[in-house]
């Protein structure tokens, strides 16, 4: 199994989750109110009240064959709005 870590702006969360469901992942976990720094932006907690929101961190444990489909869906979103996606190995306990 693979572990996928997606980090991007909370405001794109709904669209991203819809993409994941279209890619038929077996499940996902979402952590909101995440902050951070990328190549371009600093996302800080104190701006959350404005509605700009913070980042979301989505973890997906899925079989390898899901990845291609997910990539196709989310690559354009990440490249336009920013965000990162990393894959690593993980096995059920």
């Amino acid at each position: 199994m693979k572990r996928l870590d997606l980090i991007f702006s909370e405001r794109e969360l709904d669209a991203m989750l819809k993409s994941l469901e279209k890619a038929e992942v077996p499940g996902y976990t979402v952590m909101k109110h995440v902050t951070g720094r990328g190549p371009e932006r600093i996302v800080s907690e104190d701006m959350e009240f404005t509605g700009l929101g913070a980042n979301a961190h989505v973890i997906v444990f899925c079989p390898e064959h899901n990845l291609e489909k997910i990539k196709a869906y989310i690559q354009p979103v990440l490249s336009f709005y920013g965000g990162v996606a990393y894959v690593s190995e993980a096995n059920p306990l």
Partner: protein, 331 residues
């Protein structure tokens, strides 16, 4: 006279708490108002101001001054971003210029609230229908900003990013803060019309608490504003000058329009403050979604880090002086 007004403004609790917040960052104290408490205050203030505005609007009715003021407000929120855009294009690309312009065409509810508190502490009357102008001025500038991007940068965007109108209207009209303000306005209106005892029962919550929550929120706003300052330095002196000069310029136009509308001094100040203030709620969220090419640090650090503090502390009393000078008192 203006200096005395500035001093009187500075020595009110909301402005003092704002300073206390700024000094948190300056002294590097670890005082923090953790998320989502600022959101709680911000939601409360929008709900309360909307509700009270609706109640007062029902009392005053849709008399002619209401309608002309609302139209003038819409006009200002269409014209101001155009002027801003032209000025900003000197230095910035279309995306950044349009996003900043939209922010300055829109309004800041907290600046408006602080102006109301200032008027109250000065004993100057104002009308509830000005809240309608506040609510109505949040969105149009967003649409102007997006139109500017659409017209001025048609080829710089990837095909699939051509904005759909639905999306634009959605972001401008159904943004959380716009929605809550308009909704509460309507509820206040309906309650006053059909269930006056409901207004009385809301009063301790929407009325009496207001001033204290405002202070608490301004404490946080002081922290947030001061934290924006470093990124403002990076943005350069042109933007710094813009963030101070533009509100003054807009206030000036605002005062002239207010005179033309023959608004009373209290209402005139509120109108001027709407023109002079810039949005850090509705517009940035809309721009982040629809014009991600614009650097968000530009429109946030200017509006929150400079224009907002300037208006709160110096702007409001200065604009009051302006109003007093230009609009003759008629009692």
């Amino acid at each position: 006279m203006n200096t005395s007004l500035i001093l009187q403004n500075v020595l009110t609790p909301p402005v003092l708490f704002f300073f206390l917040g700024i000094l948190v960052v300056f002294f590097q104290s670890d005082l923090e108002i953790p998320s989502p408490l600022p959101k709680l205050f911000s939601l409360y203030l929008l709900l309360a101001i909307g509700f009270k505005g609706g109640v007062q609007l029902e009392a005053s009715g849709l008399a002619p001054p209401v309608i002309s003021t609302v139209f003038a407000a819409i006009g200002m929120s269409l014209v101001i971003p155009l002027i801003c855009f032209c000025i900003l294009r000197i230095k910035f690309n279309v995306f950044n210029s349009a996003a900043i312009a939209a922010a300055y065409g829109s309004i800041s509810a907290v600046t408006f609230i602080t102006a109301e508190s200032f008027l109250e502490s000065q004993g100057i009357p104002f009308d509830g229908f000005m809240v309608a102008a506040l609510a109505i001025m949040e969105s149009p500038a967003i649409i102007v900003g997006l139109l500017l991007v659409k017209l001025a940068a048609p080829k710089e965007r990837p095909i699939e990013r051509v904005m759909r109108w639905r999306e634009i209207l959605h972001e401008s009209m159904l943004n959380g803060s716009v929605y809550l303000l308009l909704g509460s306005l309507l509820i206040g209106f309906l309650t006053a019309a059909f269930n006056p005892s409901g207004v009385t029962k809301m009063q301790p919550f929407t009325g009496k608490l207001f001033y204290g929550v405002e202070c608490f929120f301004l404490l946080d706003m002081g922290i947030v504003a001061a934290q924006r300052l470093p990124s403002l330095k990076k943005a350069g002196s042109f933007l710094i000058a813009f963030a101070i000069g533009m509100p003054i310029f807009n206030a000036f136009i605002g005062v002239l329009v207010a005179k033309a509308l023959s608004l009373q001094p209290g209402n005139a100040l509120l109108f001027v403050v709407l023109c002079a203030s810039a949005s850090y709620l509705a517009v940035p969220t809309a721009m982040r979604m629809t014009v991600p090419e614009a650097k968000s640090s530009y429109y946030i650090s200017t509006t929150l880090g400079l224009t907002f503090p300037f208006n709160i502390v110096i702007g409001i009393p200065v604009y009051m002086g302006l109003v007093n000078r230009i609009i003759p008192l008629t009692t």
